[in-house]
């Protein structure tokens, strides 16, 4: 892998990882995603200008230890991703947190090329982070971290794009054009329209009957409670309810009370 290390020195070299993806996948990415050059610029902008709550300065995109630096530290003396991952594999949670936080905007920029909706990008980022977590034992610290991460991100993003395509081939999203009738009420669900008709009919009852129905049927009060609340006798409430139901039947059958 040593001869590939030079390729990963810069972010602009990342899209050259064509040897990682099959031609079909490349076509897939090329057809769906923003062309890499503009995306790279975007990614660079995004990662350098993105306000990070945890750090006073934005993370630098470091994919391999730069050749001039001493060992496992970058120019600004912060440990690079490779070192952080090595420590994380040994169980250092702080290093792991730093790594995930630094990697996240970068993964987001990769996902941002392929998904338009913010929620899709978020899901893809989660997917990639979960995968990184699940297979973090496959990372070998002697090799550069960048290709490892980008390969995982590309695989997960392609999987998501394929799943999305399959779903879209099966399902049709309902839009305004799919409504069958110009009258909005006609497009309502039949249960809903029945409920609306009932509510409308109750409103058209005489006040006494309406009150009785609301208390006894809709609010499910007992006869005693309803009598106490309304100040009417139990017998009067019973009669009112009986008449109300009769009237409702007529109203819902389209007759005048």
């Amino acid at each position: 892998m040593g001869r590939f290390a030079g390729r990963w020195r810069k972010v602009s070299g990342l899209w050259k990882n064509s040897f990682l993806l099959s031609p079909r996948s490349q076509v897939y990415l090329a057809g769906r995603c923003v062309p890499p050059d503009s995306a790279t610029v975007e990614a660079r902008k995004q990662t350098t200008s993105m306000p990070t709550p945890h750090k006073p300065f934005a993370p630098r995109l470091t994919l391999v230890p730069s050749s001039g630096s001493s060992g496992d530290r970058t120019a600004d003396s912060r440990p690079d991703w490779s070192t952080l991952m090595k420590r994380a594999q040994d169980g250092d949670r702080q290093a792991y947190r730093t790594l995930l936080q630094e990697v996240e905007p970068y993964v987001r920029s990769i996902a941002g090329r392929c998904f338009k909706q913010a929620i899709d990008v978020e899901d893809a980022v989660h997917d990639v982070l979960l995968t990184v977590h699940a297979i973090r034992h496959t990372y070998d610290p002697v090799r550069p971290f960048g290709p490892w991460l980008v390969a995982i991100a590309n695989r997960r993003i392609i999987d998501r794009l394929r799943r999305e395509t399959r779903r879209k081939a099966r399902e049709i999203e309902l839009s305004v054009e799919h409504e069958t009738f110009p009258e909005p009420a006609a497009n309502l669900d039949s249960n809903l329209s029945a409920e609306l008709a009932l509510a409308d009919a109750i409103e058209r009852l005489p006040p006494e009957q309406r009150e009785a129905i609301k208390m006894l049927k809709l609010n499910e009060m007992s006869l005693k409670e309803a009598a106490k609340a309304s100040g009417r006798s139990i017998a009067a409430l019973k009669v009112a309810t009986h008449r109300a139901i009769k009237n409702l039947r007529q109203l819902l059958n389209g007759e005048r009370p």
Binding site: R93, R97, A134, I135, R136, T138, A151
Partner: protein, 227 residues
């Protein structure tokens, strides 16, 4: 779930992990298992009766070398492909050996076309062949699935295709070593047929088998996060 919360849960679940050994070593371990399985089979069943005579024949030797080379190269390729940053060109590694193996079968077919005699192949031999086939391919498949379970999240189809090829070639090697199937048509059916069957099964069901194994053997994803 928001990304910072996700990172919190992942950090919470971050236990120390053992790094994978280099792919060549892991391929060697798998091949060692194959050698053990074949050794046990050879002890239990014995080598084919005419092994000394067969080893004199160049076609047989070349065929065996091709089969073994296919198995070794395909195993290396699948372990290389199982890593996230492994180049997909590793897929091509076993092809030269595969070509050699297939060509010897074809050559044998042309020259020994009429070698099925009246006392050629008995039914009992074919049944024992099938037992050898199962006894070799099943443990090797399970070992391959467990060792490469992380590939479920990366490129299951490519890995299972090369893995299946390795298992198929190893099985064919065991068959030729143990059973004396002189009829070339039978060799063709057993070698190529079983290889095609195993590789086909691996490509068709490799993806789901990998996910099934990964979900059971790889509980590194915290349960509340697995979707």
């Amino acid at each position: 779930m928001k990304t910072p919360d996700l990172i919190d849960s992942l950090v919470e679940a971050a236990t120390p992990v053992r790094r994978l050994r280099p792919p060549l070593i892991r391929a060697a371990l798998w091949l060692l298992l194959a050698v053990i399985v074949m050794g046990l089979l050879a002890v239990a069943h014995g080598l084919r009766s005419d092994i000394a005579m067969q080893l004199q024949q160049p076609v047989f030797v070349v065929g065996m070398v091709g089969t073994l080379a296919t198995a070794i190269l395909a195993a290396i390729a699948s372990f290389k492909l199982g890593l996230p940053e492994g180049s997909r060109f590793w897929l091509l590694l076993p092809y030269p050996a595969l070509a050699l193996w297939v060509s010897t079968i074809g050559y044998g077919c042309l020259t020994d076309w009429v070698s099925i005699g009246p006392d050629g192949v008995r039914m009992g031999e074919a049944v024992r062949c099938f037992a050898t086939l199962l006894l070799t391919s099943v443990p090797l498949s399970i070992a391959m699935l467990v060792m490469l379970r992380h590939a479920a999240l990366l490129r299951p189809t490519a890995v299972s295709a090369t893995g299946g090829l390795a298992i198929a070639a190893m099985t064919a090697f065991a068959l030729s070593l143990i059973h004396d199937l002189d009829a070339t048509v039978m060799i063709l059916v057993w070698n190529l047929g079983s290889a095609a069957l195993i590789a086909g099964l691996a490509s068709a069901y490799g993806r789901s088998a990998f996910s099934w194994f990964a979900s059971r053997v790889m509980p590194t994803i915290p349960p509340q996060l697995s979707r």
